[in-house]
């Protein structure tokens, strides 16, 4: 046990970062499950990372605004190609996503083959670390996430596949740099999976509970056990999803409603 890390000023920025990520990922997660494109977040994140590597090999500053632009543009291109592929070869979409992931990942290795810090850069791009988040980073991320969420909730019916892929690419590019690929995947897929079969409204509420308890519990646990926060949160999200699934509060709700009718 280690009480030293249990300090609000250490854990608070990380928790808020988690909430910003959840804000867009909970609703988008249902869509990802519905379309059966589970690994798209990892593919898009990898493509955004590849964009930064390209920008870097062209001599741009990898931490500056240029890198952000490179990341968003390549994520958008990747997302649009994936959306076109879905239209054209819909039944093979999952396989195509997997293939684009390994192409983006190995493309990065090839571009950095002569770079003494190649491996470092690859790893840094893949796993942003939630505990290193500073308050200053959160405001732009929150603004972008609110816009993505608002557009999705309001125009979801009208924007079609291309619109979904566009919003998704932006949301992923922002969140991967805050919390890393593993937490992005966990926030997107796990709460949605746990509350599948709930009505939309109660599903959102339940998945928010899974996500929030996952982040809060994970941060506290990682402080107490002195373990890497990102990895612990992935596990606590999964555990709270499992508890949610076993207790099935919304199924009970549906059952009691049908009984009372």
């Amino acid at each position: 046990m280690n009480l030293e890390g249990l300090e609000i000023s250490i854990l608070a920025p990380a928790f808020v970062a988690g909430m910003i990520v959840l804000m867009t990922h909970l609703p988008l997660g249902y869509e990802v499950l519905r379309r059966e494109i589970i690994f798209i977040d990892i593919a898009v994140a990898q493509i955004a990372g590849l964009g930064v590597i390209i920008a870097y090999t062209l001599g741009w500053d990898e931490h500056g605004i240029e890198a952000q632009i490179a990341a968003v543009i390549s994520a958008l291109i990747g997302a649009w190609v994936l959306s076109w592929l879905e239209k054209r070869y819909g039944e093979h979409q999952e396989a195509l996503i997997g293939t684009s992931f390994i192409l983006a990942a190995t493309g990065g290795i090839l571009l950095l083959a002569n770079n003494p810090h190649g491996g470092d850069h690859l790893k840094e791009l893949l796993v942003g670390q939630i505990l290193w988040v500073e308050w200053g980073q959160l405001l732009p991320a929150a603004v972008v996430s609110v816009i993505v969420l608002a557009v999705w909730l309001k125009f979801r019916e009208r924007i079609g596949s291309a619109g979904f892929y566009t919003l998704f690419a932006i949301a992923i590019t922002v969140s991967v740099q805050l919390v890393g690929v593993y937490l992005v995947f966990a926030s997107l897929i796990v709460p949605a999976l746990a509350t599948i079969g709930c009505s939309t409204r109660s599903g959102y509420g339940m998945s928010a509970i899974v996500g929030i308890t996952g982040y809060a519990g994970g941060l506290v646990l990682s402080a107490l056990l002195d373990l890497p926060s990102g990895a612990v949160i992935v596990w606590t999200i999964a555990i709270s999803a499992l508890v949610m699934h076993i207790t099935r509060p919304c199924k009970a709700l549906i059952n009691s409603r049908t009984k009372s009718k």
């Binding site: 950095l112 003494p116 491996g119």
Partner: protein, 302 residues
């Protein structure tokens, strides 16, 4: 039962007394275990020392844990290697710590690489070669002569931060200096058999050790750290080793040993895996670590 609870209270009050004592000491945050071990030699009981990494961890990357930020927050002195070794995490950690005393340029910020002659400093910066270590090879702790130089500078820093006990640090430094010089003579003598030995290295980790013991590096297995070598490089390596053989392949404890095992099998050369640093967390000292390094290097030339 009574005696057990009595001894528990005894233990708690001991802890309490210890915490009270700790109040008066300097809190030292070391990025790597070798600097934790050096601080222990120089400061003794005056320092409360924490090492962010262990000898079996790659100090280029570490996973962020809440305790790391908490330790940096209360640290009076941060001792790191510098030379961009910790560039992936130290700036982030320092910013998140909000501790003004340990920021770059402050007395509480000590970078060991600032005080030694760096090896492998690039002549000119070439973007095509990628992001080279502009300050040179950061693994300065693998040469005991560097340890001695850094010890002198670190002592001055400890005295500046804790002026009331300047004499204490002076005395400990004098003791350390003479003991270390004796130990170096001993290592040098024992290592005579391995001097000039032809070795292959996994990557550039041991350059300072090679310089110290006059080893002759004939090849580098993985010239670009973290990126697997190309097949052409491996073929050239194999060929050059057939023409002029080497006595051992030197590997680093925390690195993946598969490329080394491959080469060892291909070329029939034994592997010597050297621990990357002091096992500080288990009470090992710098002396014991260098003893071990010399022992391990001597094995294939016996």
């Amino acid at each position: 039962m009574l005696s057990r609870s009595a001894s528990f209270f005894g233990f708690v009050s001991l802890l309490w007394a210890y915490a009270g004592m700790a109040q008066a000491t300097l809190d030292v945050f070391a990025c790597e275990p070798e600097w934790a071990a050096l601080a222990k030699e120089l400061g003794g009981d005056r320092l409360e020392i924490y090492s962010a990494t262990t000898a079996s961890q790659d100090p280029h990357h570490i996973q962020a844990r809440p305790s790391l930020i908490a330790k940096a927050r209360k640290a009076d002195l941060v001792i790191c290697t510098g030379a961009e070794l910790e560039v992936g995490w130290l700036p982030l950690l320092l910013r998140r710590s909000g501790n003004a005393g340990i920021q770059p340029g402050q007395p509480g910020h000590f970078l060991a690489a600032d005080y030694v002659d760096m090896l492998e400093v690039p002549d000119k910066l070439d973007r095509r070669l990628g992001d080279i270590h502009v300050s040179g090879n950061p693994h300065v702790h693998t040469d005991p002569r560097n340890i001695l130089r850094i010890a002198g500078q670190l002592t001055k820093r400890l005295q500046a931060l804790d002026p009331d006990h300047a004499d204490h640090y002076q005395q400990r430094h004098r003791d350390f200096e003479s003991a270390w010089q004796r130990a170096m003579r001993n290592w040098n003598e024992r290592a005579t058999g391995v001097k000039g030995a032809r070795i292959v290295v996994h990557h550039h980790f041991w350059s300072y050790l090679i310089d110290w013991l006059d080893l002759s590096k004939v090849a580098t297995l993985e010239p670009v750290p973290g990126v697997s070598p190309s097949s052409r490089h491996l073929a050239q390596l194999k060929q050059s080793l057939q023409q002029q053989s080497a006595v051992m392949i030197v590997d680093t404890g925390y690195m993946n040993d598969r490329p080394v095992r491959w080469l060892s099998e291909q070329a029939g050369i034994p592997i010597v895996t050297l621990p990357a640093s002091v096992d500080f967390q288990n009470g090992e000292s710098l002396y014991q670590w260098f003893d071990k390094l010399v022992d391990l290097l001597l094995e294939p030339v016996k």
